[in-house]
């Protein structure tokens, strides 16, 4: 186990103690990893010097291949080569049905739950495929940074719902990394932009990538990045522009039969090339000659613009709604920053320009900003910059609610509410003697339950029998800074408490994830034990360090000598437990130390709150005299 050392107060962080942190942009088309080195955040290249890793995973006869090598084989081996898997994250089998024939994979016929793609290496879930991409990136980083990563920030589209976020977090967990935070992609981009330009004011980040679209409005003030509102479409991106071209080609060919997977994949890849060429050229020659598909002709930029107009319009409508939600006027927006490969499309630039009435900025690398912003945040969260002033304040992208009578969705927390947040709503029983109540948690803007995404269903049991309307059931929603929800329900009118807490699941249970984790080792049992021991030790290390730092900082000011000695003793105890190999003892030790330090933690938080208010008063005086 690594030796844990605690920084003395006032002492700068010893370079040997600097933690390894990274930011991961897990994209639909391309993924990147970045890290802060020598004070500079940069994306890390592979051995061939390539920064972008195509988000393509191939289950080949020789094993799993990720990236460019997988991508070039995509048309030859379509069933075993998974592209754009991000679109399937957190989605159920039914969603896949609606995505329809656009996906050249075979799905296994499981009822409900998570779609499983049939490959030659067996069935894989989107979470597992994503975990492979993360592993490839993390491997690259560990090599470059010469050691294991201590913590990672993973980005998600701002418009991702709870299921999609949870799935992404699970993928990272499956890849065996410590997730410091899920960060919204446009927010990450704004960090890179803000630090790069030093700009303050109101900005819009327009992020059109391979598979998703986000629009976020932010206010930048002295290191605080405050999201005012966000909107988008988690199924709108370059892939859809490609599809528009592919459909046009099929039309030209006069083809109406179903393509085989290889043809479909080949056509999509060709469409993408045509699209990218049309960014610089006014027209492109198109030639198709493949079993039943014949066409020779050309596609002009003007025609292409017509094909994609409605898609681009969709993004502009989302902008309009988001600007309204943010409560800002268009002329109050100082800059529009373009992020994502698809913002190179001329029509996109024109439409964004027209709507916002200002020339959008694309002078910062639209491919890398997200990873770079995530790296900056990871570096801070991991503890390498204790005095940093940067703060990100984000919002909930989609309203959360509950099913009520008549199949209606009642909103509990509305979209664009600042997070973290918690809100409680009171319900009652509608039948005499009712002892159970079904709680159905939903996400989305629509009024009917069937039009919202169902996040979780659970039953609150053990309500004491009463006349209808007498029981009081308090349902509490809590959303953390990652945008992830947990819900609890409690009967409050009597002394009896029935309490249920669930985390919404998109179909994969915790057990299934554990199983996947275990099966990713060869000697499952033994290695799984090793792994939990290693994890318990790391966690013990974290707790010891956190409390040690806290004692160094505030121990003397807040606690008596005997209390300090007690806590120090408890720290030492956990330290020696962690040197041993009894996983359960370590876990219990962690819990004990947590309990023992609760009082101290509360005192420290009081100080922080008081300090916050005091800081405000100083600032007030400042502004009065300036």
């Amino acid at each position: 186990m690594a030796l844990l050392q605690i920084t003395e107060p006032g002492q700068a962080i010893d370079p040997h103690l600097r933690k390894r942190a990274a930011g991961i942009d897990l994209g639909t088309t391309n993924s990147l990893i970045a890290s802060v080195r020598a004070g500079v955040a940069e994306t890390l290249p592979d051995q061939e010097g390539r920064h972008m890793l195509p988000s393509v995973v191939r289950y080949s006869e020789q094993g799993v291949v990720v990236g460019e090598d997988a991508r070039v084989q995509a048309a030859e081996d379509p069933l075993n080569t998974i592209v754009s898997v991000k679109r399937l994250m957190g989605r159920g089998v039914n969603d896949v049905d609606t995505l329809g024939n656009q996906l050249p994979y075979e799905f296994s016929a499981t009822e409900g739950g998570v779609p499983r793609i049939v490959t030659r290496s067996g069935e894989v879930t989107p979470v597992e495929v994503s975990a492979q991409i993360i592993r490839a990136l993390v491997g690259r980083a560990s090599e470059t940074l010469a050691g294991d990563l201590d913590g990672v920030v993973v980005t998600v589209p701002a418009y991702f719902d709870d299921s999609q976020r949870q799935a992404t977090k699970d993928a990272a967990q499956l890849a065996g990394i410590n997730v410091l935070r899920l960060l919204n992609e446009p927010t990450a981009a704004s960090i890179a932009y803000g630090l790069d330009t030093g700009a303050e004011g109101t900005i819009a980040i327009y992020d059109l990538g391979g598979g998703t679209f986000d629009i976020s409005l932010l206010r930048l003030t002295r290191g605080v990045f405050e999201v005012l509102a966000t909107g988008g479409d988690s199924a709108l991106g370059g892939d859809d522009l490609d599809r528009a071209i592919a459909e046009w080609i099929l039309q030209q060919c006069g083809h109406s039969e179903k393509l085989n997977p290889s043809q479909l994949r080949g056509l999509m890849m060709q469409a993408r090339q045509i699209k990218e060429s049309l960014t610089d050229k006014d027209e492109v020659d198109v030639r198709v000659d493949d079993k039943g598909l014949h066409f020779e002709g050309r596609l002009t930029r003007v025609q292409f613009n017509e094909l994609i107009a409605s898609l681009v319009d969709k993004s502009i409508k989302a902008c309009r709604r988001t600007v309204r939600d943010a409560g800002v006027a268009l002329n109050e927006i100082d800059n529009v920053v373009m992020v994502g490969g698809s913002t190179r499309v001329p029509l996109v630039i024109d439409r964004v320009h027209d709507y916002f009435g200002t020339q959008p900025l694309n002078n910062i690398d639209p491919d890398r900003v997200v990873a770079i912003g995530a790296a900056v945040q990871a570096n801070i969260l991991v503890g390498n910059k204790p005095d940093d002033e940067m703060l990100l304040l984000d919002v909930l992208p989609l309203s959360l609610g509950l099913e009520t009578m008549g199949g209606l969705a009642e909103k509990v927390i509305t979209r664009n509410t600042a997070i973290p947040t918690s809100r409680a709503q009171e319900f009652t029983t509608y039948k005499d003697g009712q002892t159970a109540m079904l709680v159905h948690v939903l996400q989305g803007e629509r009024e009917l339950v069937q039009d919202c995404r169902s996040l979780a269903r659970f039953e609150l049991k053990g309500i004491p029998p009463m006349v209808a309307g007498a029981a009081k059931i308090l349902v509490e929603f809590r959303v953390d800074a990652d945008g992830l929800l947990s819900v609890s329900a409690r009967e409050t009118s009597t002394g009896v408490e029935a309490f249920v807490e669930v985390k919404p699941s998109y179909g994969l249970t915790d057990e299934e994830i554990m199983q996947m984790l275990q099966s990713s080792f060869d000697h499952a049992q033994e290695d799984a034990e090793q792994r939990s021991l290693a994890e318990a030790r790391v966690e013990a290390g974290r707790v010891i360090e956190a409390l040690g730092n806290a004692l160094d900082e505030d121990g003397e000011a807040l606690l008596g000598e005997s209390d300090i000695a007690l806590l120090r003793g408890a720290i030492d105890k956990l330290g020696s437990l962690a040197d041993g190999s009894d996983t359960r003892a370590i876990t219990e030790g962690i819990e004990m130390l947590g309990k023992a330090s609760e009082e101290f933690a509360s005192l420290r938080m009081d100080v922080a709150v008081r300090k916050a208010l005091a800081g405000r008063q100083v600032a007030d005086i400042d502004s009065e005299y300036s």
Partner: protein
Amino acid sequence: MDFNQNYFEIFGLPVTFKLDLDGLSRRYRELQKELHPDNYASSTEHEKRLSMQWSSLVNAANETLKSPQARAIYMLELKGVDIDHNPVLPPAFLMEQIELREELESLEDDPAGLDKLDTFKVRVKDVMSGLERQFEAVVNEDDEKALTAVYEMQFMTKLMASAHHLEEKLLDY
């Protein structure tokens, strides 16, 4: 410091309807700079939990105080006014409501609906500002009148929501 402070106290502000909104958002950022969970990424579990609670509370306080209507309701609640009791609205206000509703409905089939909707929303906002001034003038003197103003604000908010609804329809979301 405790969780039972009222929202104004959390921001160190006097309980008044008229607020310096820039000042409020500055104070909001300063509080979150200390309390947001990201400051506690490497702290103990208990501290993380507390920071999440505090940060949520500051968010709720900010959201309530920055919206005039929510702030007005909150002030009445602090005064112990029963806000579920509906006051009688003046006929002139109700007439105006009916007219505005009819106007909004007529925009649905109007080819220039979207542009006219923008003008309509400006008008709703003007009425809203009037109600805010009205509330401010009476909040310390007359609970019933203050409650009436709030009630009217709620009508206008609903009207605005309908306008947004129509906008989404015209934009075909």
